[in-house]
């Protein structure tokens, strides 16, 4: 893989460069401080409220503004750390009780929100109540619904002193610390801002503790952040970061080529060769990403397991990965996402076999196939080229007699629709997701996360599986939990509620003057250590 090799070389060069302390590039000593970084992102972002904002594209922005108590170390590439390490952020340390149900956090002192109000145990409590206590004045229903998978076992909290707080769980949820740093979780927002603007409007006036603070937003054009000069930790190098939503992948490439942006997400696979030739830096990693279809278990046709298996056999994932996407992604044969401890790439289900698919359809009572609908977005983070891939799948399914109708929606609205589940008439929908914890399996398959509201959009319901998933989630021994996750994975693939299609490598393309950008084994990144040469 020449691209990968190049990426590794570039990464190595980058590391050497950024390791040079003062930043010596081109022979002369330059300051890392200052400058503007403009990023071409793959779709418009959702609201800038970390609890309710859906989609990675928004998390990548929110992650610069807000911080969790415990989070992932995003300064290491996915090569160095295939699963990101957990590090203290707004908590300096934490401890877990023996029964695994009580977490005690020592909070960082002298931290101020970007609006000047102090961060302390009361602020954490406010955030907890906002997302878990329906009786609280500032309870935020949408945020609560979307953070439920992280905070489902939260029973209460106890403020020990201004800088020490205990969070009490009903079950020993081993992945709780990791889930704290995940998307739609407990990123701490300023209580003062919530009181001032209200829950619904916080997203238009975001205030957190992170290294960048919100400046302005013009939808369809830009979201501008500026350096938080009062940041508690090492301050960011950049003065300003501008996120420019450009949902057309080719227009992102053009913007990069004519220098109107410094960095772009998800270049179209067809452009990679040319970009490489033009000496742009192409980085990629192995984030927890899987692009998959979810079958609608309420749909009469999809209820039949043979149909779901047939569809899984009928899709030529290799062609999609190598031909349509020019090898920029890998075919996915399991729903478990990479970049977590339970992921085993040697485990494969359903390699391409159209004859078997036809046979299964015949057994299922559809010798002449059937018609059904696939819902997908037109753009969005991790979605690659959703319509092009969907059309490819459409053609593959046509070959075994299935007529697929594609229904498309813009990303942010699509996610909202996704969380609501599918109407009976729709056969399947599509999503890109994944987590750095195997808990991901529970999020998409456990009946308690069923749509509407949850991430189990196909309303998959298997009490036996639920039990395995819950046991894996709350198992105290890691070895036992890993075995349970693998068992769950096997159950989920043999009676498939999903058709995994590809795993993305989350490529980013950077101008040569951008340094210090690292793609961690996560779907978002930190811009705190990024700096630009030739500032303008």
């Amino acid at each position: 893989m020449p691209i990968k090799r190049l990426a590794v070389i570039l990464l190595a060069m980058l590391l050497v460069l950024s390791g040079c302390g003062g930043g010596v590039a081109g022979g002369k000593h330059i300051s890392k401080n200052g400058g503007t970084l403009i990023i071409g992102i793959e779709s418009e972002a959702d609201t800038l409220d970390p609890s309710s904002a859906s989609g990675w594209v928004t998390m990548r922005i929110n992650n610069q503004i807000y911080e969790p108590l415990i989070g992932e170390d995003l300064s290491k590439s996915s090569k160095e750390a295939p699963v990101p390490k957990l590090i203290p952020i707004l908590a300096t340390s934490y401890s877990k009780s023996d029964d695994g149900k009580t977490y005690t956090f020592n909070l960082r002192k002298n931290v101020k929100f970007q609006d000047g109000t102090p961060f302390n145990a009361q602020a954490v409590a406010f955030n907890l109540k906002r997302l878990t206590d329906p009786k609280f004045k500032y309870y935020y229903k949408l945020g609560a619904a979307r953070t439920f998978r992280a905070l489902q076992y939260n029973k209460g909290y106890k403020i020990i002193n201004d800088y020490k707080i205990q969070i009490i769980l009903s079950k020993p949820f081993a992945d709780f610390p990791r889930m704290l740093g995940e998307i739609n979780s407990l990123q701490i927002v300023s209580p003062a801002a919530v009181k001032k603007y209200g829950n619904e409007q916080l997203g238009n006036h975001p205030v957190g503790t992170g290294p960048f603070k919100f400046k302005s937003r013009q939808r369809g054009s830009n979201i501008t952040l500026v350096k938080n000069k009062d940041y508690w930790g090492k301050k960011a190098y950049l003065d300003k970061v501008i996120f420019r939503p450009m949902s057309n992948s080719s227009s992102r490439v053009l913007a990069l080529q004519n220098n109107s942006v410094d960095m772009i997400a998800v270049p179209p696979a067809d452009a990679l060769a040319k970009l490489k030739q033009q000496k742009f830096k192409i980085l990629s990693g192995t984030p927890p990403h899987v692009w998959y279809l979810t079958f609608n278990m309420d749909n009469p046709i999809m209820k039949n397991v043979k149909v779901r298996q047939a569809i899984n056999y009928a899709i030529d994932r290799k062609q999609i990965a190598n031909n349509l996407l020019k090898g920029s992604v890998k075919p996915a044969y399991t729903i478990q996402s990479p970049a977590n401890l339970a992921f085993d790439p040697s485990k494969k289900w359903y390699s391409y076999d159209p004859a078997k698919a036809k046979q299964l359809l015949k057994q299922a009572g559809y010798p002449n196939g059937f018609s059904t609908t696939l819902q997908t977005s037109v753009d969005g983070s991790g979605q690659l080229m959703p319509t092009a891939i969907a059309q490819w799948i459409q053609r593959d399914l046509k070959k075994v007699g299935i007529n697929l109708k594609i229904s498309t929606t813009e990303w942010i609205a699509y996610v909202a629709q996704y969380n609501m589940g599918m109407p009976k008439s729709v056969g399947m929908n599509q999503m890109s997701s994944g987590r750095t914890t195997p808990y991901f399996l529970s999020m998409i398959a456990n009946s308690k996360f069923m749509a509407p509201g949850g991430y189990n959009s196909g309303r998959y319901h298997d009490p036996k599986l639920d039990k395995v998933l819950d046991d894996a989630t709350t198992a105290v021994s890691q070895k036992k939990s890993l075995a349970l996750w693998k068992k769950a994975e096997n159950m989920m693939m043999t009676n498939p509620g999903w058709a995994p299609i590809v795993n993305d490598s989350a490529p980013y393309v950077l101008s040569t003057n951008v340094h210090g950008f690292v793609i961690p084994a996560e779907e978002w990144y930190s811009l705190a250590k990024v700096w630009v040469e030739n500032k303008n």
Binding site: S250, K274, K398, I406, S407
Partner: protein
């Protein structure tokens, strides 16, 4: 017998004199034939990629005269199949709205007074919208799809066509034959549709032909926004839209050819309109 002869000679005369019209009419006939015989004419199916490695073949590549798109589909084949949706989505809505407008316009013109006025005032409201905007609005509400686009086009065209019929009807009403037929004791309906209609029909036909061309362009625009025909159906507007990505990577042909097809067919309809006007519309003489 006599009229037939003079009609035939008229057709031949104008056809022979007006080379542009001859070209336009030939284009329409050829397009219609292509639409009918697409299955025989097309080198590939509209959605079949002969070989998936053949993505983005340049025009002139062996076997792909116009090249292939980013899904490896033969552009020529898709243009051939696209004639179907293009002809359908332009002619059908125009014919339907012509029929509806004929009734509305004659009724409004015949009973001027309250009925006519209020009908035309309602139509006036529609003129307050640029027609493309109105089409987008209706299609956005109804949801994407060929049928809904056709409905939108019918609604958008009716006010314009009704106004033409209405104006013509008022002119006709002042002529003697109307009064004469009323005097003979003809019923209102008979006067409207047996006497007046044949006289207002020519200008409506002329306008319809021109509108077919405009409608092709508008429908293509709706497809471009994503409100029209849904993938993978071969549709010129949709193809041009899908070519955007490739265009920005430097190759315009995926967008170029379907666009040219739209322009050529729309142009053909507009020359047909001009020709019919010379032929039918007495006001032009």
């Amino acid at each position: 017998m006599n009229t037939e002869l003079s009609w035939g000679s008229k057709v031949m005369r104008i056809f022979g004199k007006d080379k542009t019209a001859a070209l336009g009419i030939t284009i329409i006939i050829v397009t219609a034939l292509v639409a009918i015989f697409a299955d025989w004419l097309s080198p590939y199916g509209p959605n079949s990629a002969a070989d998936t490695a053949q993505r983005l073949a340049m025009p002139g590549t062996a076997g792909h005269l116009f090249g292939t798109d980013d899904q490896g589909r033969d552009i020529l084949s898709r243009i051939i199949y696209g004639t179907r949706t293009s002809l359908f989505s332009s002619i059908v809505p125009v014919v339907i709205s012509a029929v509806v407008s004929m009734c509305l316009g004659i009724i409004a013109g015949f009973f001027q007074g309250r009925i006519g006025n209020s009908l035309m005032r309602i139509m006036d409201v529609f003129f307050a919208f640029p027609s493309v905007l109105l089409a987008i609005a209706i299609a956005a509400i109804l949801g994407p799809g060929l049928l809904n686009v056709c409905i939108a086009m019918v609604i958008v065209r009716i006010p314009y066509m009704t106004r033409i019929v209405y104006t013509d009807t008022i002119q006709e009403m002042q002529k003697e034959y109307v009064e004469a037929s009323r005097a003979y004791g003809m019923g209102r309906a008979a006067v409207m549709f047996r006497e007046i209609m044949p006289n207002v029909l020519p200008s409506l036909i002329v306008y319809s032909a021109t509108l077919c061309g405009v409608t092709i362009v508008t429908v293509a625009g709706l497809s471009f926004i994503g409100l029209g025909v849904q993938p993978p159906t071969a549709d010129w507007g949709l193809m041009a839209s899908e070519g955007q990505n490739v265009l920005m990577q430097g190759d315009p042909y995926v967008t170029l050819f379907p666009g040219l097809a739209i322009i050529i067919l729309a142009f053909a309809f507009s020359t047909l309109g001009d020709w019919l006007r010379d032929l039918l519309d007495p006001t032009q003489k």
